[in-house]
């Protein structure tokens, strides 16, 4: 790659501006309470401007490489902290910073009066920074670091309303599901290092593209491990359960998660490493199947959900499944195109949902009119959302899918899944958009139609049709340019990517229209008709989101906790600790046994003693005789002493000794005050002795 080498660059500021804003807000949050947006919005807007500049420079000069500092250099592992901006990166930067700016502006009104205002803005800025760092990082380890940092930000944002137990539970759940997937990703990173001998993304891609003799097994394994991470972050089956829970966060955060940051990391990673992924057909097949299943399942589930935000969550899951499926079939450019389109429109949808909900809510309180702008906004967004997948088909990338799979059954299956997804997507979007204005916010569904949207008036239909036509035309033009622009940055055989029209356009388009019609018909007629048992069962199955949450709860979470508790009580306390304690008790028992022995010995000793006493008595007689002798010697001595006493000054000596005794006594009393009587004194004495001993031994040694 003919990348510009730079040691320092203005583009470094793209992530660091939001990061700095976040840090300042974290440190001085209390002083800046309520003013966070004044710091964060300019920072992110400036990042957006810089992203545009970077985008233009990449168009003009190709990829840019920025080296910051050496992060690690241990053994064979060398990791540099640096940025790599190529076509893929700048596109995502535009999406991330652009959507983030809009969301922040929106949030500055939404969050007014929130007690954790500063915390919110600090975290959303950090969230944005982490995502930009993720897409810019030139090293897989760095990618992982920012990947996880984003997980942390989402965790903290979901627990924003921490006093709600549901928010707290949701945050934990989201992070845990992600951390299981991220464990897979980390294993994948280590495997990549083992396989390629480096973690530098460009070097890895060069090796992968050169077709060096990397054996098949580790490639498949490492691709699947990396994909495991993408499954987590991008909410693919079976890890999709976290995304609806992320709705506990304030609405702007949902917009960020769904449109700009978190979930886009998965397809990004797959596209970033596309030259590695295409080396393993097995992994590609797995990716396609997972993506397709997710797309279809989530589309059907979102059709049954009654909560608008949950509907949107499952629609995101479905769209992400679509992107992953596109990656799986090798249509990486189409995946990114879909990602960016989805990002912008989902942000739009979320913000207008927020507006609509607030507006309807206000209407209940103040009898105001629902702003037409918000209502129409949601509708247009929904329309475009359901057009985008169509467009991706239509733009020729789905033809690519057609070509890339050799097995014909797989082909047909993918086609069916793709079309079914489009059908359901069209249906649920139509349904949710219309019901929200029919019924008001969730929970108030029995109330009278609050607003009767003239969605089906001729004026409206024509307007929508015109907008759709313009959009389609615009998107085709963009797509033509887009495919050419992005293809150097992705792997696989991109030469097949033609952007001409084909007959196949009509099929998905027809399917989408069919979806709308079915939704319209169902919407017009009330729901509870006579339906078959199977249908009802299916409905209940999808209404409960395929029971994934319950299965995890019952078969995974509860048994794990129970087993942990059991192991702690039975194994740790019951066996390991008890063994140690019983060692102690056994020793004590042994000591008691030894005590008997001791007593016996004692007895023996005692009897020896009595024997000795008897002997001593016998000897006593002898003693008495000796005693007599001694006594007589004694009396002689005493006489001698008395005689001596008369000549020697006994009193003087006595006085001296007395004086000596007194002074000793006095000094003893004096010394007593310094005698160690507390623990610290004892310690002090120990230290002094230690020093003295050191000196003494040193002296001996010397």
């Amino acid at each position: 790659m003919e990348a510009f080498e730079k040691t320092m660059s203005i583009y470094t500021l793209i992530p660091f501006l939001p990061l700095a804003a976040s840090l300042i807000l974290t440190l001085f949050g209390e002083q800046l309470q309520g003013k966070g947006q004044r710091l964060v919005i300019p920072a992110i807007a400036l990042s957006f401007l810089l992203s545009i500049i970077a985008f233009l420079e990449v168009i003009a000069n190709g990829p840019i490489n920025v080296q910051l500092y050496q992060f690690l250099n241990v053994g064979k592992l060398v990791v540099d902290m640096g940025f790599f901006l190529d076509q893929l990166t700048v596109l995502l930067l535009l999406l991330v910073t652009g959507v983030s700016t809009v969301v922040q502006v929106y949030a500055s009104r939404y969050m007014v009066g929130d007690p954790r205002h500063s915390r919110f803005f600090a975290l959303t800025a950090m969230f944005t920074a982490a995502m930009t760092l993720l897409v810019m990082s030139s090293n897989l380890m760095m990618t992982f670091i920012f990947w996880e940092l984003m997980g942390l930000c989402s965790y903290l944002l979901i627990s924003h309303y921490a006093e709600r137990p549901s928010a707290a539970r949701a945050a934990t759940k989201v992070f845990l599901v992600n951390s299981v997937a991220d464990a897979g990703l980390l294993v994948g990173v280590v495997l990549t290092f083992l396989t390629f001998g480096t973690l530098d993304i460009q070097e890895i891609l060069v090796i992968a593209k050169s077709g060096a003799d990397v054996s098949d097994l580790p490639i498949t394994l490492l691709t699947l491990c990396l994909f495991c991470g993408a499954v987590g972050k991008s909410a693919q089956m079976p890890a999709h359960v976290w995304l609806p829970f992320a709705m506990e966060a304030p609405t702007p955060v949902s917009a960020l998660i769904h449109a700009a940051t978190m979930v886009n990391a998965g397809p990004f990673l797959l596209v970033r490493l596309s030259p590695v992924i295409v080396l393993s057909p097995t992994a590609m097949t797995v990716i396609t199947i997972v993506g397709a299943m997710t797309a279809l399942f989530a589309a059907v589930v979102s059709l049954t959900q009654t909560d608008i935000k949950r509907t949107l969550a499952y629609s995101t899951i479905s769209q992400l499944g679509f992107m992953v499926m596109l990656c799986g079939v090798g249509a990486f450019v189409a995946a990114i195109f879909h990602l960016i389109a989805h990002g912008f429109f989902k942000a739009f949808l979320f913000l207008s949902t927020g507006n609509a909900l607030t507006a309807t809510h206000r209407h209940l309180e103040h009898e105001e009119e629902t702003p037409a702008l918000a209502r129409n906004g949601l509708f247009v967004g929904a329309l475009i959302m359901s057009i985008v997948p169509v467009l991706v088909f239509f733009s020729g990338s789905y033809r690519h899918l057609w070509l890339s799979q050799s097995s014909s059954t797989a082909e047909i299956a993918l086609w069916i899944v793709g079309l079914a997804t489009i059908f359901f997507t069209a249906m649920y979007l139509f349904k949710s958009v219309t019901t929200i204005f029919r019924r008001g916010p969730t929970g108030a569904k029995d109330s009278e139609p609050l607003v009767s949207p003239d969605l089906f008036s001729a004026r409206h239909v024509i307007g929508v049709a015109v907008i759709a036509a313009i959009m389609i035309a615009l998107l085709i033009t963009v797509w033509r340019w887009f495919a050419g622009f992005l293809s150097p940055a992705v792997g696989g055989a991109q030469s097949q990517l033609a952007s001409e029209f084909s007959v196949w356009i009509l099929l998905p388009l027809l399917v989408a229209v069919a979806g709308w019609i079915v939704a319209y018909v169902r919407f017009r007629r009330p729901r509870l008709q006579q339906t078959s048992v199977l249908k009802k069962r299916l409905y209940v199955f999808f209404l409960n989101k395929g029971y994934f949450d319950d299965i995890y709860e019952v078969f995974l979470v509860r048994p794990t906790l129970k087993l942990a508790d059991w192991t702690w009580r039975k194994i740790d306390q019951g066996i390991i600790d008890k063994v140690i304690i019983s060692l102690g008790t056994i020793s004590t028992a042994l000591a008691h046994r030894l005590g008997y022995l001791d007593a016996a010995i004692d007895k023996g000793v005692m009897s020896v003693g009595t024997g000795s006493t008897a002997i001593a008595h016998r000897l006593g007689y002898l003693d008495a005789i000796v005693d007599n002798r001694v006594t007589s010697v004694g009396s002689v001595s005493i006489g001698l002493a008395r005689w001596l006493g008369r000549f020697v000054d006994t009193e003087g000596i006595s006085k001296t000794v007395d004086g000596l005794g007194r002074s000793v006594d006095a000094s003893g009393h004096a010394a007593r005050r310094y005698e160690p009587h507390t623990l610290q004194h004892n310690l002090l004495v120990v230290v002094l002795w230690l020093v003295a001993a050191l000196g003494f031994f040193y002296w001996i040694g010397g």
């Binding site: 934990t172 623990l679 020093v691 040193y698 040694g701």
Partner: protein, 490 residues
């Protein structure tokens, strides 16, 4: 490095705490006692950073060496020095005590002077352990560290302190005894106590196995490895805050340090043949410790069991015998000292307010104590190795290191990280979020300035190393490379 100051820098650092103890003996005012201890420990921290700044990164051997004859008849010397392996542990040893002093500023009400002296004694003894070049000196001060910790547990500990203290001493003594046997076995054959010369001697094949086993078990009990870990939760949970911090922060690291300093360079072949067993045991420890932590209802016990899990990573790294693994292990030891120390300080701050360590007694702390929750969250996520904290760097290096040996360990160890996330976040959910469950939890006040001051240096260190680990790894690189090359020759 010719000046008198740098020549005696290590001895000065070792002497500082003992001098401090002497000064403390003459003080009686509470404020003065605390301030003096704080100043003494801070001076030592400054000296340690100075030591680091003067450290020669390219040198593989010992630096700042100071030798004096002590008992020449037995070939015992007072010999100290640092290399890349001990440098970071010396830094850690001097970094934590000032925070301990700050942390127990108000909470120690009885026999304060003695408590401060014990803190100083631990610091002094630990510094000798990490710098000793003489096996006898090493062993002697290894034993000394046990004494103040015992008194801390028994005199200032929780309700079950006597039993915990006894357990701690019994375990420690068993370990020490094995260690003594090992060290005597070494020096009887080699005829010297000099650690560097001990490594160059070739021991008889018969004795090699037993000496290695004795040393290894001695260190493993201290660390602690899986089957020897049950003293740790009791000792940690019953000890006062400062005791737990020092115990988890510094004392456990003696085990890991001993493994790198003694077991690896002296018996490379034995270490190689022991490696599979140790690696499996480490992985078992990682998973088991994490699993146990999941079942705990007591905050301190939870942190204690997480220590068992983290120490499993240390042995995992050490016994992969390569730069990545060993440097990761040393960094993991350091970083575990920081995060676990911080966790105990945090739990201590909570305990000071409510006198309860029970998770179920809290809840909803975020409303009353936002600062506290921010800090708690930081260290909770650091504890399970979230990237941008130092723990991640250590764990990642260890994973890379052990992946050269056998990839299965990477996969299994990842399970430990996931478990870590589970127990820490679950704890966070129950303590910090939701609604307060007891009246006491509703009355709490947020951290004051002193408490923030206690915990912020640790937060800065944890994030700092996580974002810019280069200098820390660089300073141990040369010495670790030396050990690794030694291992590779056999």
């Amino acid at each position: 490095m010719d000046s008198l100051f740098t020549d005696h820098l290590l001895s000065l650092m070792i002497a500082m705490p003992f001098i401090g103890m002497v000064i403390l003996a003459f003080l009686s005012d509470r404020k003065w006692v605390l301030t003096t201890t704080l100043v003494i420990t801070l001076i030592n921290t400054a000296l340690a950073f100075f030591l680091w700044s003067q450290f020669d990164l390219t040198e593989t051997g010992m630096q700042f060496v100071e030798r004096h004859q002590w008992m020449p008849t037995f070939g015992i010397e007072y010999a100290v020095g640092v290399d890349g392996i001990s440098l970071l542990l010396v830094l850690l040893t001097t970094f934590l005590p000032p925070l301990c002093v700050l942390g127990c500023w108000d909470s120690i009400t009885t026999r304060l002077k003695a408590f401060m002296m014990l803190i100083l004694l631990v610091e002094g003894a630990m510094l000798v352990v990490f710098t000793a070049l003489d096996a006898f000196l090493f062993f002697m001060l290894w034993e000394v560290t046990m004494v103040p910790m015992y008194f801390m547990i028994v005199l200032w500990g929780g309700p079950n302190r006597v039993a915990a203290g006894l357990k701690y001493v019994l375990y420690s003594l068993t370990g020490s005894l094995l260690l003594l046997v090992g060290i005597l076995g070494l020096s009887l054959q080699a005829g010297t106590f000099d650690i560097i010369q001990l490594a160059d001697f070739s021991y008889s094949e018969k004795s090699e196995f037993w000496i290695f086993l004795a040393l290894f078990l001695g260190f493993a009990i201290k660390l602690p490895m899986l089957p020897f870990h049950t003293w740790l939760p009791d000792a940690h949970s019953e000890a006062p805050t400062a005791g737990s911090v020092l115990l988890a922060g510094v004392l456990l690291k003696m085990g890991g340090y001993g493994l790198i300093r003694f077991c690896l360079p002296i018996f490379p072949e034995m270490a190689h043949s022991f490696a599979p067993a140790v690696l499996w045991l480490s992985v078992a420890g990682i998973l088991y410790g994490g699993y146990m932590a999941l079942a705990q209802e007591d905050l301190k016990r939870l942190v204690a069991y997480s220590s068992v899990s983290h120490m499993g990573f240390v042995t995992l790294g050490i016994f992969s015998f390569n730069n990545e693994g060993i440097e990761g292990a040393i960094l993991q030891m350091m970083t575990h000292g920081l995060t676990t120390g911080a966790m105990f300080l945090i739990v201590g701050q909570l305990y000071d307010r409510t006198h309860s360590r029970n998770i179920a007694d809290y809840g909803g702390l975020q409303q009353r104590m936002p600062r506290f929750v921010a800090i708690l969250s930081l260290f909770a996520v650091a504890s399970f190795g979230l990237p941008t904290t130092s723990n991640f760097i250590g764990e990642f290096l260890i994973l890379v290191g052990v992946s050269y040996e056998n990839f299965i360990f990477v996969v299994l160890a990842m399970g430990g990280i996931v478990l870590g996330a589970a127990y820490m976040l679950w704890m966070l959910q129950r303590v910090a979020f939701g609604q307060a469950r007891t009246e006491a939890a509703r009355q709490l006040t947020d951290l004051n300035f002193r408490e923030m001051l206690t915990i912020l240096p640790l937060a800065v260190a944890v994030v700092g190393i996580g974002v810019y680990p280069g200098p820390f790894l660089e300073s141990m690189d040369a010495s670790v490379t030396y050990v690794v090359e030694r291992m590779a020759q056999h």
